[in-house]
Structures are given as C-alpha cells and as structure tokens.
Symmetry: C2
Amino acid sequence: MKGTAAGSAVFRERVDEGLAAVERAMLDVTDSQIEILRDASRHILGAGGKRIRPRLLLLTYMALGGIDLERVAKPAAAVELMHTASVVHDDINDHGIMRRGRPSVNATWGRTFALLTGDYLFTAVYELMAPYGDLNLDLAQAATALVEGETLQATAVKENEFSREVYMRVIALKTAALFRAAGAIGAKLADASQREIEALSDFGFNLGLAFQIVDDILDLIADEESLGKTSGIDMDQGRGVAVALGADNGNGSVPAADPMAAIKRKMLEGDTIAKARQHADLLVKEAIDRLAVLDETPAKQALVELARLVVDRDR
Amino acid sequence: MKGTAAGSAVFRERVDEGLAAVERAMLDVTDSQIEILRDASRHILGAGGKRIRPRLLLLTYMALGGIDLERVAKPAAAVELMHTASVVHDDINDHGIMRRGRPSVNATWGRTFALLTGDYLFTAVYELMAPYGDLNLDLAQAATALVEGETLQATAVKENEFSREVYMRVIALKTAALFRAAGAIGAKLADASQREIEALSDFGFNLGLAFQIVDDILDLIADEESLGKTSGIDMDQGRGVAVALGADNGNGSVPAADPMAAIKRKMLEGDTIAKARQHADLLVKEAIDRLAVLDETPAKQALVELARLVVDRDR
C-alpha cells in the first residue's frame, strides 16, 4: 500500500513535469518576433483550457513505458496547438466573442488578426513536428480531417441536412481524428507494438467521439457564463445537433421567438440528454476496454480516469 | 550546336513532365471527400498562376543533377499550395473578389468556406511533406515567416508605419522566405553540398525579394483586368508601398477623391517605378551571381531565364 501510494505520488509529479514541458513548448514555439502574433497566441493559450489532448498523448506514452518527457512534450504541444488554431478560426466563423472565459482573439484583435493568428498556430504545429519524421503522417491526416469535419458541419448547417449520420461523421472528422492521432503518436513515441498502437488509437478515437457529444450537450444546455465561451452552436446547428443526439425532429416546430431557448427546453424536458449521455458512456466504456493491452500502472489508471472525466463533467 | 539543341529539347520535355507531376500532386492531395473543399481548391488551383515557386524548386533540383521527377514533384506542389493557401486567406482579409482571372474563393463560396479552404490547403501542404523528413524544417520555417510577414504588413498598414525598412522586412518574410525554401529544398533533394545549398537558398531569397517588388509595382499601376486579380493593395497600403519603393512621402498630401488614382499618377509621373525596377534588377543580378556554383547545363540556363522573367513581366 505504502509503496503504491509513493509510486503514485512520483507518477503524479512526472505527469505535472510533462504537462509543464508541454506549456513551455507551446510558449517557446509561439515566441514570434511579430508582437501581435505572440500576444494573441499567448492570450488564447494562457487562458488554459482542459489540455485533454496533450494529457492523452502524454499518458499514453507513459503507460507504454516512455520516459523522455522533453521528447514527448513537443508532439503533445502540437496537438493542443492544432486544436487551438481551429478554435481561433471557429470563433471567426461563428462570431464567438468569449473563449475559455476570456474575450476571443476575434473579439480582441479583430478578424484579420484572428485569421492570421489561427494560421500562425497551424504553422507552429508544423514547426514543432518537423523533427518527428513519420509521426507527421498521423498529425497531418488528423489536421486534414479536422478541417474536413468543420467544413462538413458548416455545409450541413447551411443546407439543413443535419442527420444523426452526418453528425457522427462530423465529430469523427473534426474531433475524434485528432484524439486518435494523440493516442497513436503517444504510443509510437514509446516504441509500442503494432497491437498497442492500434489499441491506443482506438482508445483515443472513441474518447474523442464521447468528448464531442458531451461538449455539444453542454453547449446546448449551458449558459455562457458557466461554459466560459460563446456557445458555438447557433439555431440551425442547435436544431441539427439536437436531432442528431436523438431529440424529436423539431423541424418547423420551433417557435420563432428565441428558438434556441425552445430547443434547450425541449432537450431538457425529454430524454434526449439522457440518451446522448448514455451513448457517450458507452463509447467511453468501449475506449476503456481497449486499454486491456496495457500493464496495470498508475499511467493506465490515469487514462481510465481521463476517460471517465470526459463524460462526467459539466464544462 | 545540334547536340545542344537536341539536349535542350529533351530538357524542356523533362521540365514539362516535372511540372505535370506537380499539377497531379496538387490535384491528388486536394481530392477531398468533402465536395466543397475539393471544388474550391480546384477552382483556385485550376486558374493556373505562374507556378514560379514549384518551377524554382524543380529547376534547382535538376540543375544539381536530380532526376527523380516524382520525388521532387510533391515538395514542389507543397510550396505552391502554401502560397495558394495564403492567397485564399488574403482575399478574405483584403476583400479580393478576383484572383487569377476568376472570382476569388471568398467571392464564390463566402467567407466561412474561404477560411476553411485556406486551412485545408495548409493541411494539404503538411500531408504532402510528411514523408520528407528534415525538409519539413525548411518549409515550416517559411510557413511561419509567411504568416509573420502578412501580419507585419497588416499591422504596418493599420498603424500607418510603412517605411522602406518595414517594407523590406515584410517582403523578406512573406515572399522571399518561401522562395528561399524552394531553393533549399530543391538543392537538398538533389543531395547537393552545403555550399550549393546555401547558394541556391540565396538565389531563391533574392529572387523572392525582386518578385515581390515587381508584383507590388504591377499592383499599384495596373488595372484589374490586365492583372487578373483585385489589386491587393488598398489606399493606406498603397501609400505605404509607394513610400517604401522610393516615392516622396505623400502622407497627408493625397487628395481625398480617388486617392489610389492620385498615388498611381504620382508614381507614374515620377521616377519611383524606374527606381524600384532598378532595385529589383539589382537583386536579380545578385541572385544570378550565386548560380556560379552550378555547372553549365540547360537547367542552369533555365534558372537564369526564370530570374530574368521575374523582373521583365507585366503581370
């Protein structure tokens, strides 16, 4: 018992050390000679965020025996920067004025500089990953998928073609692909076997799906204050997501006055949210099953906890 | 004589073959499952453009003895896609409605999809380059420089701080860095010596500076029809560029009615354009001097011609 507790304390210290190295890597690579890019990058990075993607990559690496925290920190930083780049561009397209409890880059610096800051964060990903050889294949594919998912979503909203099938395809592309890459890269960096790489890629992928479903539920039902960001879901998208998550197809039945409120009320009244949460729970359970390839270590336990946290959160 | 002419015909065929492989690589990597990304990418790529960056990379490779056209085609496609991504985002920020003789992506698909198409072209660069190991370092640095240059320019325009010094820094970052990378990558792919790599990097860099100066002159004096694009230069930027290129500092002296016309008239009347062209000529001459490391081959001759074409063009 004592040994385990001590081992666990050492493990937690190592995780903190790894996450601190991730923060350093993100700050270092965004230390631009151009003031506004540096300031805007640090504004959005400094606001925190859950850091779930770099945590996933780091814990996967550690669970498979990886010990070089400096080496793993840069790819872990890269996946978080990729996500952050997409968030900055999202806030342009969705007119988001709050993000991570702060004014968005778009709201603070305007559209031109928000667009360039997002581009800059993309190029920072590229710079960080350049020395990592074939691991670039994993992240490049995830980057393309992310943009494809965002585009598919914008198209579906515009054409009013948001079905459950489209929704699942959107979240697979825009969210789960990057979670999968985080798992794959963490495993490959630890020189894992093909079987382990596949298991941890699947773990990441399912976790990503669950994460996005819970995110969308929170976006639909929460108010901005507790969410810390402008809800990324407008009315058309809200109706689509609600349908996709299992609500009755409310097409045409939503009253014109404050339709988002009507969608929210409808979701809160029915069992839509309960059903969507069940789906997320199932995905997380499947994800955790894939961790059977791992030895019992504090890092494996931390991955299980991370997965549970994804569904058991209220922001 | 006959031998040279025949060798030259074979050489030209090889160049055409290489450029065709570049076009194929660009089409293949943008063959997205998401219709709008595929269509918008092909709309802008299919409009042509001068393809000067991939040509530079390809000719550098051939001038240093490279023969694997399939291998060189992907990095050459990547530098063109990087440029194209920045052009698509530029047209959002500058409200450009024409590009390469066609309606811009922004004008055709709207801002949201133009932003995503630009992002997608960035990720296509990343996908193409992923198998190329350390060459990613060159292109990643150029990508960051490009975004920094665009940002510095936007800042200088906004703050009315466009001096000659700022202008030279802007074009070094936003244009010459990518030309330099094209030279460096072409040379490295051909397994060139360090001395050759540096010479061809310098060639690219100076050529990039000259190219942008000529581009800005054409933007300032040409009308949209002959240029095939919306002039990327608005009034504040126009005044800044004019000053940077050697015009009298016209601050405050430009009449309010059609100030761009006044700037144009002023430039056409004075010797500003002649001086700017002289500067570009000088840069091209310096660039060509750096080709002394190369053996006399048709590819070297083609690089010299490419350099001359950069300054002797009217669009």
